[in-house]
Symmetry: C3
Subunit: 148 residues, 3 copies
Amino acid sequence: MTTQQETPATAVTAEVYAEVQQFYAEHMHLLDNGTVDAWADTFTADAHFDVPTLPEPLRGREALAGSLRRTTAQLAAEGVRRRHWHGMVAVFPQADGTLRVRCYALVFSTPLGGDPALHRVCVCEDVLVREDGRLKVHRRKVTRDDLP
Amino acid sequence: MTTQQETPATAVTAEVYAEVQQFYAEHMHLLDNGTVDAWADTFTADAHFDVPTLPEPLRGREALAGSLRRTTAQLAAEGVRRRHWHGMVAVFPQADGTLRVRCYALVFSTPLGGDPALHRVCVCEDVLVREDGRLKVHRRKVTRDDLP
Amino acid sequence: MTTQQETPATAVTAEVYAEVQQFYAEHMHLLDNGTVDAWADTFTADAHFDVPTLPEPLRGREALAGSLRRTTAQLAAEGVRRRHWHGMVAVFPQADGTLRVRCYALVFSTPLGGDPALHRVCVCEDVLVREDGRLKVHRRKVTRDDLP
């Protein structure tokens, strides 16, 4: 949090802010829908993805796709739907053209025929880059509020 | 999800994205406040509203107003407040000038004097149109995560 | 709700709407991070802050800082993390240059090693003003859904 808030290169424009929101919306729809390849394509080929639910960070689009493929199969077998929400999205454009983002992330979990539940409360820190005009996640670090 | 993501007419602008967010905010404030007629006026006269809590889709502004009037009275009698949240809003402008929207929708429910609860996790797919310069819901389809 | 919806000075622009969202995101990150002075600086010096968890409204930046300092220490002692989310943000620019905002506010609470919980569902009404080009909260009134 310290770095990007103390040295923002420039204020975020409305255009970029809306683009980031739309990007996250589509990104999460693909994730929760289990649309594996299209979701993996919202990351750079060499993306670095660090989340506390995994024993070590994932590196690269293929590892990401494999991870989502396994999770999707497991949730389907359990009859559970997950929804990921980003909110309180703060975007800090950097001098090198990348976007640093700090936001909150909720995960909701609903079993078929059962009650919806709040599954996780997290903080997500992303570095977004532009490739061929489209935003992609280059680095992601997620921390969970229930873990030290 | 397939159609609008595969054939977006154009990318959404910051102006339209902000307008959709402001529209949903006011729309939900009116809904949860039980401001029946003003809420019904955020739909087209011939709106089609398909939600799994109703036995069949509602058609038209008068049916919508009647439905909200009954729900508002029932919640007041129970001493319960509902809050509807849209999030992860993806907007896909179409060639005909309409906007297709896919977003997540949460419903929170709080009894007076009691604890707040997550009531529903849903997906909402809207077709928004412009009438006299203002956005209105022309079609809405809501699916609940707990139902097949 | 009545006043600002019946007499909006002008429609909100995409620039201002994005600025308000970015402002709230940074504001809540500072709050939940316990970054007391920087958070207090997101209010005007004479801010008026009315929330039902406090016996009477707080007046002024120093009172706000003191309140957050106490809350931060208490949550740290309890091993609990809080996250404040604004959503369904409706912005109504006024003729005097201020912004009236009506939005929903969620508070999530997660004990270290435990399950996350929805703590509060609230409505937040703000008057935002601009000082030296930056938005600040001049007045805030929060109501809780579980209280009459």
